[in-house]
Amino acid sequence: MSEKITGAEALLRSIEAEGTDTIFGYPGGAIIPVFDRLYDHGGKLNHILVRHEQGATHAAQGYARVSGKTGVVFVTSGPGATNVITGLSDAMMDSTPLVVITGQVSSESLGSDAFQETDVIGITQPVTKWSHQIRTADEIAWAVSRAFYIASTGRPGPVVLDFAKNAQNEQIEWNGYKKCEFIRSYIPYPEVNEDDVDAVAEIINAAERPLLVSGHGVMISEAEKELVELAEKADIPVATTLLGLSTIPSAHPLNKGMLGMHGNVAPNMATNRCDVLIAVGMRFDDRVTGDVKEFAKQARVIHIDIDEAEFNKNIKADATILGDAKAVMEKLLPKIKKTKHTEWLDSFVDDEQLELEKVIKKEVYPITGDLKMGEVVNKISEAAGETAVLVTDVGQNQMMSSRYFNYFIPKSIVTSGGLGTMGFGLPAAIGAKIGAPERPVCFFVGDGGIQMTVEELGVILQYGVAVKIIILNNNFLGMVRQWQDMFFNKRYSQTPMVNPDFVALAKAYGIQAEDVVTREELDGAIKRMMEYDGAYVLNVKVEEEGYVFPMVPAGSTMINTIIAPGEKYQPEN
């Protein structure tokens, strides 16, 4: 049974067939035919009108990260398309599945510098997993099915379909939609090599001081259960990357915390003492390793990842297993011997104690002085409960909230890890709430980052998205100020900020809001925020010169960790 429909209608039917029900977008000249057809798809396709195209991509990222589904974005040509580049780059770095449809001028005008024409394929190729221009209506179903297949499988990533206007308007015979299952040049789930598994099992079984590192890949492949099982069976301490947070509950006795520049002392130091480091679904980012020449150089490194190009890219691996984390874990688990590493695990205690005394107690349980970022995060995490999703912006707010939030279930953190995009947070939080409406979404942001995408408060107003927004306001671009303080002689070049009245700003958008200045005000304000049925802004005045510690200086090694202003890490014995 075939019928005649337009290309625009074919696009909508195709994305519906892929199971899409939510689109983040912004109309414009070169995509009007699609928005016109969207008018008749109201029951099935829920379109969220953002206030800036960058917001559409970040919202789609937040949506994708909590739901595991592919985020879909519609924008127009020219400036609409160039505005999504930051979101595409971010999604590429953090392996987030997006299908971004950009309008494009008609095929016959391509290359003529037509109004709102830009070379979208040329611009997006370096920052997407795939980008393709649709010039005729009969290739729409083919292109959309490939787009979803590529974006969502293997190591996920963003895909762009640049949709020429003539193809939107053309009439075609619609013969139904078939999902893509095969592309000759693309093997998303490589078969796990048994010999590699055997070799790795042997190394793990012989290890005396093994350390397991859990990354974003574990979350993408939903291998959290298997990862924890592996850790428990062989009694291996687990460290996570920033994006791997919540792959193991915070309270799990084997969870030793986060690795990296602002990670926990004990797991960071353990990278220098372990004899086997088992990295699963992570890519040894420089914020994790510091100086790559010094990182875990005494250890045999096992690297398990779905992307072969990550092997030996930053850290040389002694053994690798190529494959989806869950598939690998399932094959590996039966070969791992049940054992105990009591002495090794006990060796973490001194560093944990040191961090607790020197860093955590001061940050989370201060008695006097201005409010601390860590204490605000901790209290909100306690109030938000076990199903809460943490969304962060970038900077001190990101490190403080990711460090002091408590994780109970998987997919509980949405943050811009690889690209470190300030302004990511607000739209990502909106997307996360839409993707997981039953979960409380707590979004921590600085006074700088909120102003980068503050226009998206309009989305909260229009759709009533119940996001809890906590501005950790120190009237500074705090992370840069921290670096200026520590490494640039306290020359605070362009980091102090004169800020608007955030409460008045929120209220202008019809959002409940209040200022918190003193410690006495905090508990009541959090209670009011969490109990309020709807979005809420807390503008929390935190100490101006707050620092995120511990800190491994960029390009340095774990042993040079700074623990407090002017104080270097000293091992207990």
């Binding site: 299952e181 095969f182 072969e308 190009a309 030996n312």
Partner: protein, 182 residues
């Protein structure tokens, strides 16, 4: 630091718009200069072959090839040093006929280089020479005094010395994968 070696990268891909750009930006990002490039249909129907040479170290080229292979549309990519392949390039020389005829050793030169004359007119003569870059370069040097008007060289083409044809094997394997799915 490891000394730079001339590496030949071969890439087998689907015949699709935009792949060359995707490959070249992977070179650009690593600041690798492309010394020569040739692209043409391969012996396998529908499969294109790129041959790219550049000076690099082994580690960089290994990572580069992995990144290239990651792109959708790229079937397989390999890298070789000169001793692992048989390679050729072609050069054309345009010389004024009058000048060429002044050369007392013309026959000797043509024999020495195994060059061919493709065309000869009253005004100019076109010589052709295939070989390694240093050979085509040497003929250029010998003809230089005769006022060469044009001298062009192609990119490298290369075949491997390895007995296995990995691309054919890969394509057959993928054909079986597809059949299993259907």
């Amino acid at each position: 630091m490891e000394e730079k070696t001339l590496y030949t990268v071969t890439i087998f891909s689907e015949n699709r718009v935009g792949l060359l750009n995707q490959i070249s930006i992977i070179y650009t990002r690593r600041k690798l200069n492309i010394e020569s490039l040739s692209v043409s249909p391969s012996s396998i129907k529908g499969v294109h072959k790129f041959t790219i040479t550049s000076f690099s170290d082994r580690e960089t080229i290994e990572k580069l090839v992995k990144q290239i292979e990651k792109r959708i549309g790229v079937l397989k990519s390999f890298y070789y040093t000169d001793d692992e392949i048989i390679y050729q390039e072609i050069a054309l020389y345009k010389v004024p006929t009058e000048k060429l005829l002044e050369e007392p050793n013309l026959e000797k030169i043509i024999r020495k280089y195994n060059a061919r004359i493709l065309e000869m007119s009253r005004d100019y003569t076109i010589l052709e020479k295939t070989g390694h870059p240093e050979e085509t370069e040497a003929l250029f040097e010998d003809l230089k005094c005769h006022d060469i008007r044009q001298f062009v060289r192609s990119g490298r083409v290369a075949v491997t010395k390895d007995i296995n044809e990995y691309v054919t094997m890969f394509i057959e394997e993928r054909k079986r994968d597809k059949e299993e799915l259907m």
